[in-house]
């Protein structure tokens, strides 16, 4: 009777490799990504979506989502929300404009101070949540309004307008700014253009240059942040703390996890990601506007949820969030390419997003057997 060896402890239960693979939170994201690409390859292949420029377009948009999704993902796994991400993007961009253009400080100082201010606001968000015990939903909703208000008030008061330009000129020659606004591999892309692999501009001052002339730092940042978040979450003790804090904060505290510190650190990281987003944006476009980043907090959350994370915390993956961001970016831009009527576009977007999340949840329930 002893030979049948029914495992007495479920933690050491043997599971098949397939089942293990299916249990990964990013599975839904992978299935979704494959489905979305198949869909657009079928319906929008000859629309320019898969030409160099088209690929760059949806890659950049997806990378934007990825940057804020990584922060939102880790925070959500730690059991909290940040609804102030969108306002933080507008605020951070405006700070750069105020310090770098209006006050004409060197751009690298403006960038570092902006990082300091924004990460400090993130810490304040976290501190208030921890100290008051209020849901982060409410606290960060308050900051959504507070930061947006300042983003409109400050330039209005100083400059009597709500868009401040001239950032590109102010950043010229700076050593830190290209890390956000620059492009890499430009020589390689020029070469691709020269040998005819990439299309080149047919007229104007950029004649002969390839239509896609390099990888924007925005994409590099997205990849770095995804890699950083993934390693942090899966390979470090701190990563385990994040899961534990979101899963059951009380149990985590009892086993010695510094839950408060973990959560505040994640609020700061979310703010950091939002600031990176803002910096890449103002460096590329050269102006900061009071309306930048509207609704981006929801886009970050949507990407994370498509990527398989639970809204209740304790479960999720950064790779999944990155895939969610990719799906969201590809769907959003792809629907344009597929020629969907613009007022119906958001209907499709909503349906596809809902479908992705339902599929995801269904797969997870089926595999893990949870109810």
């Amino acid at each position: 009777m002893a030979e049948t060896a029914t495992p007495t402890d479920e933690r050491v239960k043997e599971m098949s490799r397939l089942r293990l693979a299916l249990m990964r939170p990013e599975l839904g994201g992978m299935v979704g990504a494959v489905a979305v690409f198949t869909f657009f390859l079928l319906f929008a292949f000859d629309s320019g979506m898969f030409a160099s420029q088209g690929i760059m377009n949806w890659t950049v948009v997806s990378a934007q989502f990825m940057i804020i999704a990584v922060g939102a993902c880790l925070l959500m796994i730690a059991g909290e929300f940040d609804l102030s991400v969108g306002s933080m993007i507008g605020f951070a961009g405006m700070m750069i404009a105020v310090f770098g253009v209006v006050l004409a400080w060197p751009m690298w100082i403006a960038i570092l101070i902006t990082f300091a201010i924004c990460v400090a606001i993130g810490a304040l968000n976290g501190y208030i949540v921890i100290r008051t015990g209020l849901p982060s939903f409410i606290v960060t909703l308050a900051f959504l309004f507070i930061l947006r208000g300042f983003t409109i008030y400050i330039p209005q008061t100083i400059e009597r307008k709500t868009i401040i330009g001239g950032i590109r000129e102010a950043a010229e020659g700076d050593w830190l700014a290209p890390i956000f606004g620059g492009k890499i591999l430009t020589g390689f892309f020029q070469w691709l253009g020269d040998i005819g692999v990439l299309e080149t501009f047919s007229r104007g001052s950029r004649e002969g240059q390839p239509v896609v002339d390099g990888i924007p730092m925005l994409i590099v940042w997205a990849l770095i942040l995804v890699a950083f978040g993934h390693i942090l979450l899966t390979r470090t003790r701190f990563g385990n703390w994040i899961y534990a804090s979101g899963g059951d904060a009380e149990a985590a505290r009892n086993s010695g996890v510094p839950v408060n510190r973990v959560k505040i650190a994640m609020f700061m990281f979310t703010a950091f990601c939002a600031t990176v987003f803002a910096l890449c944006q103002v460096m590329e476009f050269g102006s900061a506007g009071a309306d930048r980043g509207l609704l981006k907090e929801f886009e970050a959350i949507i990407a994370v949820v498509i990527g398989g994370a639970l809204l209740t915390g304790g479960y999720g993956s950064v790779i999944g969030a990155a895939l969610g961001a990719l799906i969201f970016g590809v769907v959003q831009q792809g629907l344009f390419f597929a020629g969907v009527e613009s007022s119906l576009f958001r209907v499709f977007l909503g349906v596809i997003l809902l479908g992705a999340v339902i599929l995801n949840t269904y797969i997870r329930r089926m595999i893990t057997g949870e109810r």
Binding site: G48, K161, I163, G165, E199, G286, S287, G289, D291, L295
Partner: protein
């Protein structure tokens, strides 16, 4: 890597094939209009209807796109996306020159014809390499209003400016003064946007300057309280009163005789004309030699019927 490059090359070849085909005359033409307006801005419905009507009449495909929240950075991505889908032409606004000039110039350099509409200036349109600008240059509109007001006997005026932070709107006052041939001086009032404040400021100004015989307001925000101020002072109809833009109160006041005329920038034309112009440019290579002023269109009591009939649709 080689495999990737080959597949990219194959992809590019497949994609460029239908584009090359459309270069011939009488093929299907595709135009995209990209606006800066958020979904909530209903004013742009006229624009949507305008391009749809033009597309139908001329026989081309038109599409309307906008950033849902009005985020100009998102708009730049939409322009890049539109360029990547290789349409025959792009019609767009220059809501923020810093942000949009890059993507628009890139589209032009790629061989796509661009027309700037609504927001922007003829100079900026030239700078990004657009074919032309279709809109209402603020100074010119003000100047035309001034000329007309001069003919109607205005000698001293007040310009009620509710958006002093927007330099382009102030141009309307400057143009009006120049059209009248009067120095602007302190005739431009920074009224703020609070209706009660505007009303009291206008009443105070008119009491202090009894020789004022003309008023210009720059939109419904300043026009509506000014109407109330004139009513209260018993000057409605006595003072020559013109305004920019139309609105419910303004239309009522034009009907009632308080307002002489409203200046319509005629958004319909800003949408309709670029489509027609691009289509004829692509088909026959003909292009008007100048920028087009879609306004000022003067709406008087006589022309109200059509305005009311098509309000929100084409007007």
């Amino acid at each position: 890597m080689k495999k990737l490059m080959t597949s990219l090359a194959v992809g590019a070849a497949i994609i460029s094939a239908p584009v090359a085909a459309t270069a011939g005359a009488h093929e299907e033409l595709n135009y995209v209009l990209v606006s800066h307006a958020p979904d909530s801005d209903t004013w742009w419905n006229t624009i949507k209807n305008g391009i749809a009507l033009a597309g139908e009449q001329v026989g081309v495909n038109v599409e309307y796109r906008n950033p849902p929240t009005g985020d100009i950075a998102d708009m730049a991505r939409i322009i890049e996306q539109a360029a990547a889908s290789s349409p025959d032409g792009i019609i767009t606004t220059l809501a923020d020159f810093d942000v949009l000039s890059g993507p628009i110039s890139a589209a032009v350099d790629q061989g796509i014809d661009v027309i700037i509409m609504n927001t922007g200036t003829p100079e900026q349109a030239r700078e990004v390499g657009a074919l032309m600008y279709v809109g209402q240059p603020e100074y010119d509109a003000g100047f035309a209003a001034g000329l007309r007001a001069k003919g109607e006997g205005v000698t001293k005026f007040l310009c009620v400016n509710h958006a002093i932070q927007q330099p382009t709107v102030g141009e309307r006052c400057r143009g009006y003064a120049d059209g009248l041939g009067i120095d602007l001086g302190d005739a431009m009032m920074d009224s703020g946007t609070d209706p009660a404040e505007i009303k009291n400021k206008v009443m105070a100004y008119l009491s202090a300057n009894e020789d004022v015989d003309g008023i210009l307001t720059l939109g419904p925000v300043s026009a509506d309280p000014t109407i109330a101020a004139l009513d209260e002072m018993g000057l409605a109809g006595d003072i020559h009163f013109g305004t920019f833009d139309l609105g419910e109160e303004i239309v009522k006041a034009i009907k009632g005789g308080t307002i002489k005329w409203g200046i319509d920038q005629q958004p319909f034309l800003q949408a309709y004309l670029p489509v027609v112009i691009l289509a004829n440019w692509d088909r026959y290579g003909v292009l008007p030699g100048n920028n087009i002023n879609s306004g000022p269109g003067f709406v008087t009591a006589a022309g109200l019927e059509k305005v009311e009939a098509f309000a929100g649709e084409y007007r």
